[in-house]
C-alpha cells in the first residue's frame, strides 16, 4: 500500500511571555470647573487635573466607540455644537490622541489651538455657549479577563471574544502607560512573535474613521493574514 506523502507539520509560534487580555472600567467624577465661554474653557484647561484632559480626549473615545464620523473629542464637539465655532471645532477634531504619550503635551496642544483661535477671533472668547461645558474626570480601573494568548491563534481568539473596552484599553489607552507611540498588541507581536511588520500595520489603523468594532475587525484582519502566512 502506498503511503501518503508526509506534509510538513506547522506548529504555532509560541510566545515567551503570554498576552493577558485586560479590560477597563471607569468611574466618572464630576470636576469643579465649568466653562460657559471659550475663554473660561481655556482657563480651565490650564488648571484642571490631568484626569480631566484624559476623560475628554482619550476616555470619550471609548464612550463613543460606536460613532464612525463626526466625533473626535469633547472639546471639539462643544466648540461645534454649543459655541458654533466650526473652524475651531475642526482644528480640535484634528487632534489624534495617539500622537500623545503624555497628557501634559496634549494639554499644551489644546491650549495652543484655542489660544491661537481666540487671538484671531476676539469676540468668540466671551460669547456665551448654548450649553456649559462641565469638566469631568475619569478613574480607570483595570479588570483582568479570562483570555490569555500564547500564540497567534489564541491571540486572534482573544481578540474576537473580549469586550470593546479591552480593545480600547490595549489599543488606545496603552500609549499613556507605555509612554510610546505604539500599543500593547503591537508590542507583544513584535517582542514575542517577531512580527514587526504586523505590529507596524496595527499601529497604522485609523481609529477616527472607524468604530471600535471596526478597529477590532481591522486588527483581526492583520492577525489572520499573519496566521495564513504561517
Amino acid at each position: 500500500m502506498a503511503t501518503a506523502p508526509q506534509l510538513p507539520i506547522t506548529r504555532p509560534r509560541w510566545a515567551r511571555s503570554p498576552f493577558y487580555f485586560n479590560s477597563a472600567s471607569h468611574l466618572l467624577r464630576i470636576g469643579r470647573e465649568k466653562a460657559t465661554t471659550l475663554q473660561e474653557l481655556l482657563e480651565s484647561l490650564r488648571t484642571c487635573p490631568e484626569s480631566s484632559i484624559f476623560q475628554h480626549t482619550f476616555q470619550t473615545l471609548a464612550e463613543h466607540h460606536f460613532i464612525r464620523e463626526g466625533f473626535s473629542n469633547d472639546f471639539s464637539h462643544w466648540a461645534f455644537a454649543s459655541c458654533n465655532e466650526v473652524e475651531l471645532a475642526e482644528q480640535l477634531a484634528a487632534i489624534d490622541v495617539r500622537e500623545f504619550t503624555f497628557i501634559a503635551t496634549l494639554r499644551e496642544r489644546l491650549i495652543h489651538i484655542i489660544e491661537t483661535y481666540l487671538q484671531k477671533n476676539l469676540r468668540a472668547a466671551t460669547r456665551v455657549a448654548m450649553e456649559p461645558f462641565y469638566l469631568m474626570a475619569s478613574d480607570l480601573v483595570v479588570v483582568p479577563t479570562p483570555y490569555v494568548a500564547r500564540n497567534l491563534e489564541e491571540f486572534a481568539d482573544g481578540l474576537r471574544k473580549v469586550s470593546i473596552h479591552a480593545i480600547y484599553y490595549h489599543f488606545i489607552d496603552a500609549r499613556l502607560r507605555l509612554k510610546l507611540n505604539t500599543n500593547d498588541f503591537s508590542v507583544w507581536l513584535e517582542k514575542e512573535l517577531d512580527m514587526g511588520h504586523a505590529a507596524d500595520k496595527l499601529n497604522r489603523i485609523d481609529i477616527y474613521t472607524s468604530t471600535l468594532e471596526g478597529v477590532r475587525r481591522s486588527i483581526l484582519k492583520v492577525v489572520e493574514t499573519e496566521m495564513g502566512r504561517a
Partner: protein, 487 residues
C-alpha cells in the same frame, strides 16, 4: 466634524432667532399658570372621547379608535425581576464576565440602601431591580425605608420642590420636624453594614449614625440641585458634607462640595415591560387599539400632561411639520385622572389639537408600560420637548429602541444626547419642527442616528452599566481598587 453640515447652521439660526421669544412667552405662561388661582382650575376636563374631528379621508375604523381608544383597564401582575444571565444576549458575555469579576472582590460585603418609599417613584423602581442583582452577586443588600408622619412627608415634599428651585418658607418648626423624624429613624435602624447608600434628601440625616470605625456612606441624589432654595440647601448641606461620596445624575445638577462627586446616569432596564423587545404583532395590535395608521409617519411624545413637558409646544411643532409631511402625532401620558393640574393641561392640549384627526391624545393608566413600549416602537420620531427636565428617561427609552430622538436641551438631556450624532437637541417650537421634518425626509440619516442612539444607551444608560458603576464605586471607597492598576 469631518463633514460639512449646512442643516445644522439653519437649526442654530432658528434657535437664536424668533424661536427664543416663543420659548420665553411659553415660560411666562407656565409661571402664570403655576399660580394656584389658575383660571381653568376646577373646571372639568374634556374627555378624550368628546373630541370632534373634522371631515377626513381616514377610514372609519381609525376615527372610531381615535375617539374611543381601547385602553387596558386591568392592572397586570408584577413581573419577576430578571437574573443576571438574562442580560447576556443584550450586553454580551465579556461584559457580564466583567461584572461578575468586579463583584467577586466584594463578596460578603454588606450594603444598606435607604430611601423614603417602597412603592411608586423612580427610586423604588431602580432599587427593585438593582437589589436582586447585587444579592445574586453575593453582595447582601438590605433595603430600608424611612418612616414618618404626614407632617414629615409634607416637609420633605416641600424640601424636594425647594431644592429644585421652588419657593419655600423654611421655619425652625420645619427644621425640628425634619430632625425629629430623622432621629426616630436613626434609633429604629441598625447600621452594621459595610456600605450605606442613602437616596435623596428625605433620609439624608441618617449620616449622623456614621461611625469612624466602620462603613462608607454614599449619598445618591436623584434631584437637580443646580438652583436650590438657599435656606433649605444651607440646612441640608452640613449633613451632605459628612458623606464619603455623593452621586448625581448629571454634572449640571451638582453643588460645590468638599468630598468626591460621581456621575451615575439614571438607567433603564432593557428587560422591563417598558423596554423589552416586543413581537411586531403586539405593536400592530396596540396601534390598532389606538387608531394609529402605521402606513404614515408617527411622531410621539410620551410624558404626563404637565406644562413643563410642553405638550402644546409639541402640537405646534407637529402643525409646522404637517405642512410638509403627512404624519400623525401621538401624545400619550398619564396624570390627568388624579391630578387637577394634569386635567387642565390635557384640556389645553386638546384645545390646541382642535379637530385634527391625526393628533391622537391618550391618557393612559399607570400600568401601561407594555402599551408605551409598543407606541415607542411604532414611532418614526420620538420627541421629548421638555422646558425643564431632570434626566429624561423617555429619551433613553427612545434611544434604546433605535429611534431618532428630538429633545429639549434642558436639564440632563444634553448628557443623554450628543447633538446630531445620537439625537437632536432643540430650543424652540420651530427648531423642533425643523428637526422632525429633516428626520422624516432623511430616513437614512434618521436610521443611523437611531443606531448610534441605541449604542449610546447600551454604553451608558442600561441597568447593567449602573450595576458596574456601583461595584466600582464600592471597591474604590473600600480601598480595594486603585485607579489605573489591575484589580
Amino acid at each position: 466634524m469631518k463633514e460639512k453640515d449646512p442643516e445644522w447652521k439653519t437649526a442654530v439660526l432658528e434657535k437664536n432667532g424668533k424661536a427664543g421669544e416663543n420659548t420665553q412667552e411659553r415660560q411666562k405662561k407656565i409661571k402664570t399658570a403655576e399660580k394656584p388661582a389658575s383660571h381653568n382650575a376646577g373646571q372639568p376636563a374634556i374627555a378624550v372621547s368628546e373630541r370632534r374631528f373634522r371631515q377626513t379621508d381616514l377610514p372609519a375604523h381609525f376615527i372610531e379608535r381615535r375617539m374611543r381608544p381601547r385602553i387596558n383597564t386591568q392592572q397586570p401582575p408584577p413581573q419577576a425581576p430578571p437574573r443576571l444571565e438574562d442580560y447576556e444576549p443584550i450586553i454580551g458575555k465579556p461584559e457580564l464576565d466583567e461584572i461578575r469579576f468586579l463583584a467577586r472582590h466584594l463578596r460578603g460585603k454588606t450594603v444598606k440602601m435607604v430611601n423614603s418609599t417602597a412603592v411608586g417613584g423612580g427610586v423604588a423602581e431602580i432599587l427593585n431591580r438593582l437589589i436582586p442583582l447585587l444579592t445574586e452577586l453575593e453582595i447582601p443588600t438590605r433595603w430600608d425605608v424611612i418612616t414618618g408622619g404626614n407632617d414629615f412627608f409634607e416637609v420633605t415634599k416641600g424640601f424636594h420642590n425647594a431644592l429644585q428651585g421652588g419657593e419655600y418658607n423654611l421655619t425652625q418648626q420645619i427644621k425640628d420636624i425634619f430632625m425629629s423624624y430623622t432621629e426616630q429613624n436613626r434609633q429604629r435602624m441598625e447600621f452594621a453594614e459595610d456600605l450605606f447608600v442613602i437616596h435623596d434628601p428625605q433620609p439624608v440625616g441618617l449620616v449622623r449614625s456614621k461611625s469612624q470605625k466602620r462603613g462608607k456612606w454614599i449619598w445618591r441624589c436623584h434631584v437637580d440641585l443646580s438652583n436650590p432654595h438657599p435656606g433649605v440647601w444651607d440646612f441640608l448641606k452640613p449633613m451632605v458634607e459628612q458623606y464619603d461620596a455623593t452621586i448625581f445624575s448629571a454634572p449640571a445638577f451638582t453643588r460645590q462640595l468638599t468630598g468626591p462627586q460621581y456621575l451615575f446616569y439614571p438607567s433603564i432596564d432593557p428587560l422591563s415591560e417598558k423596554n423589552k423587545d416586543l413581537p411586531e404583532e403586539y405593536v400592530n395590535k396596540v396601534c390598532d387599539d389606538f387608531g394609529i395608521d402605521r402606513s404614515r409617519p408617527v411622531i410621539t411624545q410620551i410624558s404626563r400632561f404637565d406644562r413643563l413637558k410642553d405638550p402644546v409646544g409639541v402640537v405646534e411643532s407637529y402643525k409646522l411639520v404637517k405642512k410638509y409631511v403627512d404624519c400623525q402625532l401621538v401624545l400619550a401620558g398619564g396624570g390627568a385622572s388624579d391630578d387637577p393640574e394634569g386635567a387642565v393641561v390635557l384640556q389645553e392640549v386638546m384645545e390646541a389639537a382642535g379637530d385634527d384627526p391625526d393628533i391622537i391624545i391618550l391618557n393612559l393608566p399607570p400600568w401601561s408600560a407594555l402599551e408605551i413600549n409598543a407606541l415607542q416602537r411604532a414611532s418614526t420620531v420620538i420627541v421629548q420637548k421638555s422646558l425643564k427636565e431632570g434626566f429624561g428617561l423617555t429619551v433613553t427609552e427612545g434611544l434604546w429602541k433605535e429611534k431618532p430622538v428630538v429633545a429639549g436641551a434642558v436639564g440632563g438631556i444634553p448628557t443623554q444626547i450628543v447633538h446630531k450624532l445620537t439625537g437632536v437637541l432643540v430650543h424652540s417650537v420651530e427648531g423642533c419642527a425643523y428637526q422632525i421634518r429633516y428626520l422624516l425626509t432623511h430616513p437614512e440619516f434618521a436610521a443611523q442616528m437611531g443606531k448610534n442612539g441605541r449604542e449610546h444607551a447600551k454604553e451608558n444608560f442600561l441597568i447593567t452599566v449602573n450595576l458596574k458603576r456601583w461595584l466600582l464605586l464600592f471597591q474604590v471607597l473600600l480601598g480595594m481598587a486603585k485607579p489605573n492598576t489591575v484589580l
